[in-house]
């Protein structure tokens, strides 16, 4: 089970309303490489992981991604707080506003709704861990793209933090892949699926 801690993992204190920035950042809530997809991906994959420590890592990173989702939502919320109808129209936030006012709803920057098609849980530890390595890189690229064009330091600081976490998670998934590889056939790493064909595993896990 999960226990809520009433604080953000990284502080968010944005004093300047900017619906345009909110519309870009919301992609890391419900977009294809967003934090919601990240947490759902890892928390879905963990049940069938053949190496127990890797299932543990997926739980911990999946949990951290929920923290990141909360950081992104806090940013969008603060950027659109006290919005006037004129600001809505001027900033191009009007399409979102018509459907959700200033409520939080998971979508990509271009308005595409969140869908589980954005991630995979394939039931093969090697496939899933390689997906996770790619996912961390894709999210890093989104943060790079945001940091290139957003100038407000109050918005940049949490984005820099979130970008740095993608790199750390990439390293940990790489280590998880190394741990999983130890269980494979040393001559042919694709001889069997370590999540399904358990009779071939080197150690009973």
């Amino acid at each position: 089970m999960w226990c809520y801690e009433k604080r953000l993992q990284y502080p968010v204190k944005i004093t300047k309303t900017c619906p345009k920035t909110a519309q870009l950042i919301i992609s890391q809530y419900g977009g294809p490489d967003g934090e919601l997809a990240a947490s759902m991906r890892y928390l879905a994959q963990r049940y069938t992981m053949p190496v127990k420590a890797v299932g543990g890592l997926l739980t911990d990173i999946g949990t951290e991604e929920i923290n990141h989702m909360e950081i992104i939502c806090a940013m969008v919320y603060q950027l659109t707080k006290n919005l006037t109808p004129d600001q809505v129209k001027a900033a191009g936030f009007d399409a979102y506003y018509i459907d959700h006012t200033t409520g939080l709803w998971p979508q990509a920057a271009a308005g595409v709704p969140f869908t589980s098609l954005e991630f995979q849980s394939k039931g093969d530890a090697i496939t899933d861990l390689v997906e996770n390595l790619a996912a961390e890189q894709k999210a890093r690229t989104v943060y790079d793209n945001l940091l290139r064009i957003i100038t407000d330091p109050e918005v940049r600081e949490p984005l820099k933090f979130l970008r740095a976490r993608e790199i750390v998670h990439f390293q940990r998934f790489g280590e998880a892949l190394e741990k999983t590889k130890e269980q494979l056939d040393s001559k042919n790493c694709y001889y069997f699926n370590p999540e399904f064909d358990k009779q071939f595993l080197k150690t009973r896990l």
């Binding site: 226990c3 809520y4 801690e5 009433k6 604080r7 953000l8 993992q9 990284y10 502080p11 968010v12 204190k13 944005i14 420590a53 543990g56 890592l57 911990d60 990173i61 951290e64 909360e70 939502c73 806090a74 919320y77 603060q78 090697i126 390689v130 390595l133 943060y143 790079d144 940091l147 290139r148 940049r156 600081e157 820099k160 933090f161 979130l162 970008r163 740095a164 976490r165 790199i167 750390v168 998670h169 990439f170 390293q171 940990r172 998934f173 790489g174 280590e175 998880a176 892949l177 190394e178 741990k179 590889k181 130890e182 494979l184 040393s186 790493c189 694709y190």
Partner: protein, 143 residues
């Protein structure tokens, strides 16, 4: 499969190395100096000292910093469970975090449900007998 093989990815396993202090770690997004790989448009290392105000935001800042050190250490230990240095640091930081959380609940409001025990019965915003879990601002308000 210790050595590298064709047709499968390999990432070198990290060795324990130089660390940032708690404040800098939160600012940079990792405690590990070797994993701090900033993007070219981002500024250099920012100092992360908690403002000495003696109020709830100073204590919350300390809790955020030490909790993040534990977050990053947890992922490291998940993959390096026998690293004695990391384990010793984990135990030390955990004890400090527990103390800070308790102090925060006693002085202000509980951050977790199991800290309700430390604030219940004190004069909170809703009075001595109200359930104190609802005290304090929501974390997304940025106060």
């Amino acid at each position: 499969m210790k050595e590298t093989h064709l047709a499968i990815a390999s990432v070198p396993c990290q060795q324990w190395g130089p660390l940032y202090d708690d404040g800098k770690a939160l600012r940079q997004g990792t405690i590990f100096q070797e994993l701090d790989l900033p993007f070219y448009v981002t500024e250099g290392i920012t100092e992360g000292q908690c403002a000495q105000k003696g109020n709830s935001s100073q204590l919350l800042c300390q809790i955020q910093q030490i909790s993040f050190v534990l977050d990053d250490l947890t992922l490291y230990l998940d993959m390096h469970s026998e690293d004695g240095q990391a384990l010793a640091m984990y135990q030390e930081k955990l004890a400090v975090r527990d103390q800070l959380k308790k102090e925060f609940a006693q002085k202000f409001h509980p951050l977790t449900r199991d800290c309700v025990a430390y604030c219940q019965g004190q004069a909170g915003v809703h009075g001595d007998h109200a359930f104190c879990w609802q005290d304090g601002p929501m974390p997304w308000e940025g106060v």
